[in-house]
């Protein structure tokens, strides 16, 4: 007999398909609501980045305030590959992801037996060190000016070659990467690994006594999120046709934390997606209206932290709960309620 509590994880879920449909058709409707394709590209890139980051922040509860470093390293690796090794988009993004992972893995060796504030500060320290290196190693990174003229290449898909010159083409490419990453992360968070990460967030000590290798888990999740950041960074380098050190700064690293939390990364798999969209649309919109967009964004952020720290996903979940309570007459056979299960 099938256990009444076993609910197998579907490969696709409704929110996931909704996200795919809404984002995937962006070039078709984006311009008519006053957005533009390039913005769509950036949003997709940062969603990828934020999804990977949330594995660390939302699932494992490890706040990294220096994650921009791995994003930036990905961008540099991609650019260096294109400029000095050979012009292949595939090789570039693989190298970007790999470089992000190596850097993150190295930092994680020092970080993985830290917790709380010490962890947070060490991530800042490593972020700063990588940032300094990026600025100082002129011969490799171009220093402050960064690596320029990394022209968008062509993507070879077996028999067909697709040029990524237009923002539209790049958008679909980034979107395809996003789909793959989403499916992958969705799978991961529903595997024992993902569950154990959440367990570590709730009680690291207990997870150790249950038998998990907490150090290795923390190390691997940091590295994994570094790989994804590096991947996103290399697509960012394609979009920008350059790699700059600025994305590695503390400031830029703060943005990823902000967007993940505003969206509600602590309570939902989809939080970072919402957060990245809101962050970019608000930034683009406010940036063209006022010169003090950070003031308004800061106020918005404070309001979220004050009134709904679970973020927008939290608001949504509360709303759904109320709806459910209204129709409580019918008994529901719901999934086991998990914190980040991904409603």
């Amino acid at each position: 007999m099938k256990s009444p509590f076993a609910i197998s994880t579907p490969v696709f879920t409704r929110p996931m398909l909704l996200m795919f449909v809404v984002l995937g058709t962006f070039p078709l409707w984006g311009t008519s609501v006053g957005l533009y394709n390039y913005l769509g590209v950036e949003i997709i890139i940062w969603i990828i980045y934020a999804l990977g980051f949330n594995l660390l922040l939302g699932y494992t509860g490890l706040p990294s305030f220096g994650h921009g470093a791995y994003f930036g390293i990905g961008a540099y690796a991609y650019s260096l590959c294109q400029l000095n090794v050979f012009e292949s988009v595939w090789a570039g993004i693989l190298l970007g992801a790999f470089a992000g992972g190596v850097a993150a893995g190295l930092a994680a060796c020092f970080l993985s037996h830290r917790r709380g504030i010490y962890f947070a500060l060490m991530t800042i320290a490593f972020g700063q060190v990588f940032w300094f290196i990026a600025i100082k190693w002129h011969t490799l990174t171009g220093g402050e000016d960064g690596l320029l003229n990394v022209y968008r290449g062509t993507l070879s898909l077996g028999p067909v070659d697709v040029s990524l010159k237009s923002n539209e083409a790049l958008f679909y490419f980034a979107f395809a990467v996003l789909v793959v990453i989403t499916l992958l992360l969705w799978r991961i968070v529903h595997s024992p690994y993902g569950k154990a990460l959440q367990a570590i967030r709730m009680s690291e000590m207990r997870a150790g006594f249950v038998g998990y290798n907490v150090w290795l888990m923390k190390w691997s999740v940091f590295t994994l999120s570094g790989v994804i950041a590096g991947l996103a960074g290399s697509i960012f380098a394609i979009a920008q046709e350059s790699a700059y050190p600025d994305v590695m700064s503390l400031h830029a690293s703060g943005f990823i934390v902000m967007m993940t939390l505003i969206g509600g990364g602590f309570v939902s798999f989809w939080g970072p997606v919402i957060g990245a969209i809101i962050f970019f649309v608000a930034r683009d919109f406010l940036g063209s209206l006022t010169e003090t967009w950070l003031l308004w964004y800061g106020l918005m952020f404070m309001a979220v932290m004050l009134f709904k720290p679970e973020g927008i996903a939290g608001v949504w979940q509360d709303f759904m709960k109320k709806q459910k309570a209204k129709s409580a007459a019918t008994p529901t056979s719901q999934t086991p309620k998990n914190s980040v299960a991904g409603e």
Partner: protein, 247 residues
């Protein structure tokens, strides 16, 4: 050699010596108790035995193997599970997820991303069995943080049982439970005693006298006396205190 044996354990925190010289042994199939007044070093002793702290001196052997100073996950892997005095459940998980994540089967597949944990019928069945064993049938989907105190205690034990231990350590399981709760817990432990070797740390003498096969009393960081409940109960001060004569 006994099933579990600790010899001359010593533990200091800076200037403070918490464990002076602890020598203990527990037999397989028995329920052993550790008791002592507050602040006697019971919890520290427990933490050293289960690997949370490394001792400054002495050795710990389990089933013939030296486990002194091994990290908790290794000790857990050898078949020792423990509950906590200050409860450390996975609060945001449901009761059944708390068990599920602790099952040996899950732990060994920790790095297998293809394994669909929530969808695995056998795993879930086994988790449900464990919950039933600790009397939480019907509460499977409740979030751990929403469970009443007594049920959280039971779930604590359930999580420890989930890893199919050969030796189960329980850290002050009655703490915070009322008379009623303590009685129910005692029943549960008596049941578990059939299948597991258990060590309980407890302040409450009566509770241990009822359940244990052997009791060690710890004070000043050392074992000040040891024996069967009958032996210990024979002490005139103990009797007097239980009869309420000295007060």
């Amino acid at each position: 050699m006994a099933f579990f044996e600790a010899k001359h354990l010593q533990k200091r925190f800076g200037d403070q010596v918490v464990l002076e010289d602890i020598t203990l042994s527990f037999e397989a199939g028995q329920l052993s108790g550790i008791m002592g007044p507050n602040g006697a070093g019971k919890s520290t002793c427990f933490n050293v035995l289960t690997g949370q702290y490394k001792p400054d001196g002495g050795t710990v052997h389990f089933d013939g193997q030296d486990i002194t100073g091994l990290p908790p996950r290794k000790i857990s892997g050898m078949g020792i599970a423990r509950s906590f005095q200050i409860m450390t459940l996975f609060d945001e998980f449901s009761a059944i997820d708390n068990i599920m994540i602790a099952l040996r089967n899950t732990v060994t597949r920790a790095f297998n991303p293809l394994y669909d944990l929530p969808g695995d019928t056998t795993t879930m069945d086994r988790a449900a069995d464990v919950l039933a064993k600790v009397g939480l049938k019907g509460r499977e989907l409740e979030q751990a943080i929403n469970l009443p105190y007594g049920e959280r205690r039971a779930l604590e034990i359930g999580v420890a049982l989930a890893s199919e231990p050969r030796l189960l350590f329980l850290d002050e399981p009655t703490q915070g439970l009322g008379v009623d709760g303590t009685a129910r817990l005692a029943d549960l432990i008596l049941e578990l005693k059939e299948t597991y070797s258990i060590v309980i740390i407890e302040h409450d003498m009566k509770f241990l006298f009822r359940l244990a096969d052997k009791i060690s009393v710890i004070h000043w960081g050392q074992v000040i006396t040891e024996g069967s409940p009958e032996d210990l109960r024979a002490n005139e001060w103990v009797q007097a205190s239980q009869l309420g004569e000295v007060a």
